[in-house]
């Protein structure tokens, strides 16, 4: 899915266009910190502009490119803990604990 022209700089990160939490969480665990850092460094500064762009539409009726942008922003939220807090992909001190998301609103 192509992004709107003004967000073309995010196209290298389309692999983060993931609609559900289990997909985003799995992607986080299988990514290196360097990969997540590159994604974060590119996408985080654009967050306000992405929100402004998506807010032009109704949430229930987003055009495809805006949906993709929202999925990328959801992935950005997902990597914010590894990048901003934990300095690792996994939650520290979480050992073998596993928490599964079983219901979420999907954009």
């Amino acid at each position: 899915m192509a992004l709107p022209a003004e967000f073309a700089d995010l196209e290298p990160y389309l692999e983060w266009d993931l609609a559900t939490e289990p997909e985003r969480y799995a992607k986080r665990l299988s990514s290196t910190m360097a990969e997540m850092q590159a994604f974060y460094d590119a996408a985080f500064p654009r967050m306000e502009e992405v929100i402004a762009y998506c807010d032009k539409f109704s949430l229930d009726d987003l055009p495809e490119d805006a949906r993709t942008l929202m999925h990328i922003m959801q992935s950005l939220v997902m990597v914010s803990f590894p990048i901003e807090a934990w300095k690792q992909a996994r939650v520290p001190d979480s050992g073998a604990a596993w928490v599964e998301l079983i219901k979420e609103p999907v954009i």
Partner: protein, 443 residues
Amino acid sequence: MAHFTKPAEGSWTQHYPELGTAPVDYSDSIDPAFLDVEREAIFKKTWLNIGRVERLPKTGSYFTKELPSAGLGMSVIIVKTKDGSVKAFHNICRHRGNKLVWNDFPHEETSGTCRQFTCKYHAWRYSLDGELSFIQQEDEFFDVDKSQFGLKPVRCEVWEGFIFINFDDDAQPLAEYLGPLAKGIEGYPFGEMTEVYSYKAEVGSNWKLFIDAFVEFYHAPVLHQKQYTAEEAAKIVQYGFEALHYDLQSPHGMQSVWGGQSPPADLNMVKPMDRVLRSGLFGPWERPDIEGLEHLPPGVNPTRAPQWGIDSFLFFPNFMLLIWAPGWYLTYHYWPTGVDRHIFECSMYFVPPRNARERLAQELAAVTFKEYALQDGNTLEATQTMIGTRVVRDFLLCDQEILIRHLHKVTGDYVNKYRANGDERLRDERASAAKEAHNGSTR
């Protein structure tokens, strides 16, 4: 030094003298025989919350709930009937005992909408009200009175949109059981908060030990400090934790807690993502624009503290309800599956977002919850293992851990009462057996 006023007795714990202040023994969390009695005395006798009415939007909407906590294989169907009421039935066909409602895997919960329930095995049919309406090749049977073979009902009542069931036909009505703490929060706009995120985990600890972790916030500045800068973490640890207020209305209890981070006093306390989305561990900072949040029911923020952040209720045995100042709520449930295992469920309920900004703020709150739940879950497995060694039997609890002391006392009371009644039942049986034997020998 206390930041908030305590009761005249000097502490919250001493305000409830029946609790005592002595160290507590957690044998109730490692003894398999104790769990066997908990099943009978608690999970088969008290009102259990199994979800919200929003899961049943129309006539014929149903879901199933597996309840191993109340006995191996226990399973219930909850359905919205034609007159709009919610009913519950044991999930078993009256013909030869097949599980009535399930999909590919009989032990997995399911949901949907139907006109009637049809058994997979021989196509017996039951109406939404549980009446047996159709028997395949009925004339092969022997004068069946279908009115006598409906689904086995389970008591089911609804409070403020929360559906509860009770396996005890003689139990007191739900509202009476929930008591004044529930009464005090009636009218809160739970029904407006329909944007739901749910999590589930299988945790390697006794169900009460995880409740213990979530009914005290004394741990929060320590266990969860890695999200802060070292300097902020040190400040928070030094400040420690104190609740605004505790209220025990046995068997239930609640605490009211100050606000912390919605929004944080100092923006440097929180992550850059939290600052952009104005959200985080305490949920979105902006209160949604709906009726009912301006003037809260008297039981929400009961002390009317301006710095209020969360009210956390534990409705015995295993239903926690947390109401957050910025206008959302969450529920926790803990379902024992073994003395050292339970299923943990969490659902977060928000007012549906109006735009991308609100949607992402909620997303961040949901993601943040999982990060902390993983830490909490893992800590609990470590606690369970070590208590299980029985190397130490008496554990200290501080005043901010009063709800833990209360939970273990109430649980013990239910179990002891059941055991005492059981002994009585046994004595009666023995007495009548002896009498029989005596009569037999003299005859």
